[in-house]
Assembly symmetry: C2
Homo-oligomer: 525 residues x 2
Amino acid sequence: MATLGLTCVHLCAGLMGRRAASSLRSLRCVSGMTVSQIDEEVAKLLELKAQLGGDDGKQTFVLKTAKGTRDYNPKQMAIREKVFNTIVSCFKRHGAETIDTPVFELKETLTGKYGEDSKLIYDLKDQGGELLSLRYDLTVPFARYLAMNKITNIKRYHIAKVYRRDNPAMTRGRYREFYQCDFDIAGQYDPMIPDAECLKIVYEILSELDLGDFHIKVNDRRILDGMFAVCGVPDEKFRTICSTVDKLDKMLWEDVKNEMVKEKGLTEEAADQIGEYVSMQGGMDLAERLLHDPKLSQSKQACAGLTDMKQLFSYLQLFQITDKVVFDLSLARGLDYYTGVIYEAVLCQTLQAPTPAPAEQNGAVSGEEGGVSVGSVAGGGRYDGLVGMFDPKGRKVPCVGVSIGIERIFSIMEQKAELSAEKVRTTETQVLVASAQKNLLEERLRLTAELWNAGIKAELLYKKNPKLLTQLQHCEETGIPLVAILGEQELKDGVVKVRNVATREEVDVSRAELVEEIKKRTSES
Amino acid sequence: MATLGLTCVHLCAGLMGRRAASSLRSLRCVSGMTVSQIDEEVAKLLELKAQLGGDDGKQTFVLKTAKGTRDYNPKQMAIREKVFNTIVSCFKRHGAETIDTPVFELKETLTGKYGEDSKLIYDLKDQGGELLSLRYDLTVPFARYLAMNKITNIKRYHIAKVYRRDNPAMTRGRYREFYQCDFDIAGQYDPMIPDAECLKIVYEILSELDLGDFHIKVNDRRILDGMFAVCGVPDEKFRTICSTVDKLDKMLWEDVKNEMVKEKGLTEEAADQIGEYVSMQGGMDLAERLLHDPKLSQSKQACAGLTDMKQLFSYLQLFQITDKVVFDLSLARGLDYYTGVIYEAVLCQTLQAPTPAPAEQNGAVSGEEGGVSVGSVAGGGRYDGLVGMFDPKGRKVPCVGVSIGIERIFSIMEQKAELSAEKVRTTETQVLVASAQKNLLEERLRLTAELWNAGIKAELLYKKNPKLLTQLQHCEETGIPLVAILGEQELKDGVVKVRNVATREEVDVSRAELVEEIKKRTSES
């Protein structure tokens, strides 16, 4: 067994204990620099203490994952694989390629891209060399990738984990480490065609995953900015007021208004005018009407956004997806980098509390309208300026994309599986090679290898002499449909007894025909 | 467009420049604490400078990925997907489930598991809260997962990126961020059965990937420890001498001996005795012979290892893979946690230098024996103590596993693709919806949506009026096999002209039969 490396030299101080450590910590305010040295020492000592173990001499590792993160067990992985397959199939159906970028970027690559959310970025410790941060999304690394490789057009998807030091709400599927599934179209194209395809993709994925009813809110940053302008918001407050509007899906208008006026110093009059606009919802008709709105039509920006909105809806009609799409002036999206169309898909369903529901309530996920919203499950928009921020000559590459909020989808799918009668299989094993008598390990190993070499998914128990019952139970538990049973007689006759686990039927199959027989039987199911 | 956030307040100091920063850096020796403060300020200033731009007023972002990391472009991703599919198929054929763990762990989870390599762990910055580190491998998180969930048996694979602050050698496929593909069997079983399956898996994967000739070295930590004991190595030096022996694949024996004697203080006599053993290679016969070696047989540990080695080879014979497996006493493996059998697979081929080879040299990867070894492409072993290190009561779960060195395999596959005539497709698009005349965007959108809804992988160009030639060129470039061409006449006749891009043949297909026709034609290829 490996020995624990004791790297810390201050052994005597190891007796200090947590009380002392915590009082050291309270010195933090005295001097910034000394305290960081103390913190480091404290960390070393506590680590040492953990290695040495508690009073009973046992190790006192804290057995947990980092705050806001989780392991995926095999059942969760089986569900995750299914969801990913649906999403990737859709991306591929739309002709996308895929790329991958490192989990960390140079810190400066991420700086200044996320507005108020930048404080949530995870930094790596400076261990000498470059200053690095974990990626916060996949969009900024994508823009860096385009600029670095001078790519002017690409349609790509990227599925990977991103990191945010946010307050986790894990029962609602909000984690500090979570997957993003992004699809983006970069390139100079005619207006609204790629934008419409992004919405079509959201529609296809949410329909195929069968998560219940949903709708997709659409707006445009130019319409928002035009609205702020005509309502009298000073230019320099556009982004911060936009962040406040973005909270409308979680907060009441009264509270949003309060934040605008009391925290952000907007006049009450301006806030009230904004309040009127952000209550508007509709479709192409609303875009048409607002183009003639006496106030909003004063803004060139707003008019450009509204004209594009009309164009977008005409394409969505061709795609036959307008039944789920709403032009909603309250949609703002938090991130700084959007420049045009923005959108967000929301499920209209109740999400179960973590405690199990009464048995009679069939289904954690109710599809009825009027259910409590679980929040956004997809979002995105146009960001025509981001790539230019990375290009040494400021060359722009217009981009539009969508990110699928996969973690919330996982949570819902897991709850569905939990309540479903169907058992989730975590392996794909087709056959267990079993023996009915003792001393047949070598024969089992030989046959299993034959099956593996023929491409059959096969297992055997790693015991010299397992009981037949134990072997059959393993099949029941893990859902293996077939057993290939070897015995003295079968070996003599050159056959294998093939047992159907569900029906308990058994037939002798000649060794030469076994592979074909297994393939035939398992392709049916 | 998003604005750059200027967070640093020392604006005046922004003029200092890199020279001044570097002389500040040279103060490092004066006082540890002040210098770290200075470093932080310097980093802020340089970042600010980068944001403000250079003398020409342009931004001077460093457009690069972090040292030792890389992006994967679509072509590399297509190759990666193919390799992963082969590997995952093999793992599933052997009945494995899969799990996933977070990219970072509590720092203390990783502490004391990697011996001398612990210095290569990436730590996250202390931003308040837990101290975290990026995972160094998938084995320690797996052990933590087992202990935390009290799992006593599982057969799982895990494919994910791991992080090591090593000196990158990227032309040889060595990175600071790299994938590991791990397969492990945990549980109390009869000896050597799961161990033999791990070797079978390595054999299957390396054969299927068609990387040229390879061999798998096998040894046992107990044999090594027994050998050290009988050669007179003091107990406390076992691990460090083991690390030195591990360098035999990269260093000459003379240099290894030098390190043992001069750096690690071993007697010359002991080193020479080790030298004799570590030159031995063989199969079951060697294990048998060493069981009767007058010196080595004095060690109980060595005898246990040798007996198991014989058993292992008997199972490998049943699996018919002994042609590639060598019992090699010089194999040591660096990691601390191994307790029994260890193994490593090595390709017997030359790896091309990064500059392209002369055209007449057919194939970067030569399969001849005697080529320069590219080093290990898979490795693993038995680690029966690791889970117990995490369990509060020290309960052990015996484990054995293997890790596929996928990055080197990618490098080789990329070079092969580079030299192959066959073009790597990066999308799976079956058909491009094109138009022969102007003003048909709406018809193209409608038809494309029809195809998407029928599960066909379809694209259209995002232009209102693209030229037919441009549309056909897009197919040639990206390998799309079919074009569905719409024109006034076709619309009138209720047909679509289907063009085979390779043969340039065109036929009219009725709209109702289009989906079936496309499916038929693309299932053939």
